[in-house]
Amino acid sequence: MSKRIEAQNINVFYSKFHAVEDITMTIEPNSVTAFIGPSGCGKTTFIRSLNRMIETIPGGRVEGKILMNGQDINATDVDPVSVRRDVGMVFQRPNPFPTMTIFENVVAGLKLNGERKKSVLKDAAEQALQASNLWKEVKDRLDRPGAGLSGGQQQRLCIARAIAVKPDVVLMDEPCSALDPISTLAVEDLIMELKNEYTVVIVTHNMQQASRVSDTTGFFNLSAIGQPGKLIEMGPTEKIFSNPDESATEDYISGRFG
């Protein structure tokens, strides 16, 4: 089930470094939300706060409320592991598990969380691979190593792995930055399909990509190196790319800096 995310006054720290300052936003369900902005502006840090990945880094700390359909995932009694089961993530570089076959990779999340029934795993694998448009390419070699696929296929395998556990939200951290244009196209098509079932949040450096796939765009920026990143402006993608309210946004999307 796709969920609405409301972030309220989010601040993220790495030890003493203030990485992200005071971000408040609402991310709509069944939509694709893109974050753009120059390097180091906190986009990645912010989406990592949405599935409590920040605290896996020593010194990482998040302040503020993140409500998923009204429930605060940062509340002290919430198990971070269960949050991550509901909020899937796809990373910048494809990272299939090198010890596993294609099949094992797709069902890794289910298997590691205790699902043992062969029939359930098989169905889940086929479903996830269909949904990530990879099924036709790999259905005859599910027992081959996942790391043997091409970069684009590996990334779609990672997407399949993320959605096989049926999350509510899929976070994507520059999912196409390591891919060639053809593979990028395949992944972009997939992103637009994913929003039918999930809340999709994507970080990208590629502004054309943001304008192609997203419904809402948020622009992040930082005032100077070493300063925390901030959300400058957020709105419907067409508006951000044609008629943004802030001049910094306009400068960035028109290529004047960044």
């Binding site: 990272n95 598990f97 010890t99 590691l112 792995r161």
Partner: protein, 300 residues
């Protein structure tokens, strides 16, 4: 006018050849490296040749693998090394079942639980252990168990001394191997809602398995040839003794040492036979571990 033709006219007719100076330098460097390699090869080939040429004929006799030295007199030919092979394997086995789990757990703690307060003392102790000579570790075990607790000397005490020598090798080896597992794999696993302990157990360790097995083998190879603990902690016997908790127990290094002191040809043969056997066992174990690692580790 086309720019390509004008650009082409700037290119000299011939590309410059390698200058004499660089040719000489290159030749000298290559020569020196080759020479260094040959020098390094001399002792290796020499040792292997001596051990193989003198030891191989001895171990080709089936008796070598099926009989002990029981009732074989110093002047006699014949008998085998089974008592020493059994002793070495039994002692290495008991050392391994203690040192391998401890070593791997230590390595895991160092890499996967960096916030743990035990990290610093563990790392420091491992460094200290690495530097301890085998005879000191043997004396420590002697002082602790024989002097203080009044135990008898026995094979198991040798195993305990070997544990001290094996642990740091495995801790450091495991640590290195876990460190080169990309963090992205851990993150991918966390992002699937897999708890940390399960991530370590099911993702990180399998990925590093081949390397961990290699470090175990290094540890085993290191301890199997150790002689000092044997001299201090157990007596030599020419009979087979499977029980490391009672009586004297032979081992290959001890056998080498005992037969060495006897100048007669049959004993000399047995010295080389035992040396060859020791090398062979370590080699076979490494090969076995390689095969094991192929099934366990990263899929290719």
């Amino acid at each position: 006018m086309s720019t390509t033709t004008s650009a082409r006219s700037d290119v000299p007719a011939r590309l410059p050849t390698l200058s004499r100076r660089r040719k000489v330098k290159d030749g000298m460097a290559a020569g020196l490296i080759g020479l260094a390699f040959l020098f390094a090869l001399i002792p290796l080939v020499w040792v292997l040749w001596t051990v193989i040429s003198r030891g191989l004929p001895v171990v080709l006799n089936i008796d070598w693998w099926t009989q002990s030295q029981r009732l074989v007199g110093p002047l006699d030919e014949g008998g085998g090394a089974l008592h020493a092979i059994i002793g070495t394997l039994v002692q290495a086995f008991f050392a391994s079942i203690i040192a391998i789990p401890l070593g791997i757990l230590g390595g895991i703690l160092l890499v996967e639980y960096p916030e743990n307060k035990l990290i610093k003392p563990l790392s420091f102790m491992t460094d200290v252990l690495t530097g301890i000579p085998s005879i000191v570790s043997a004396l420590f075990i002697y002082a602790a168990f024989v002097t203080a607790f009044g135990w008898n000397r026995m094979g198991f005490l040798v195993s305990l001394a070997l544990v001290l020598l094996m642990i740091p090798v495995i801790v450091r080896g495991t640590e290195e191997m876990l460190r080169i597992v990309p963090n992205e794999l851990r993150e991918a696993s966390y992002a699937l809602g897999v708890p940390r302990w399960k991530t370590v157990l099911r993702i990180v360790i399998p990925t590093a398995m081949t390397g961990i097995i290699t470090s175990i083998m290094l540890g085993l190879a290191r301890i199997m040839g150790e002689t000092a603990p044997l001299l201090i902690l157990v007596g030599y016997t020419s009979s087979i003794n499977w029980n490391p908790f009672q009586g004297e127990q032979a081992a290959l290094p001890l056998m080498i040492n005992v037969e060495r002191t006897n100048p007669l040809p049959p004993a000399q043969d047995r010295t080389w036979g035992a040396a060859f056997t020791l090398i062979l066992i370590v080699m076979l174990l490494s090969l076995g571990a390689r095969l094991l690692g192929r099934f366990a580790g990263v899929k290719k």
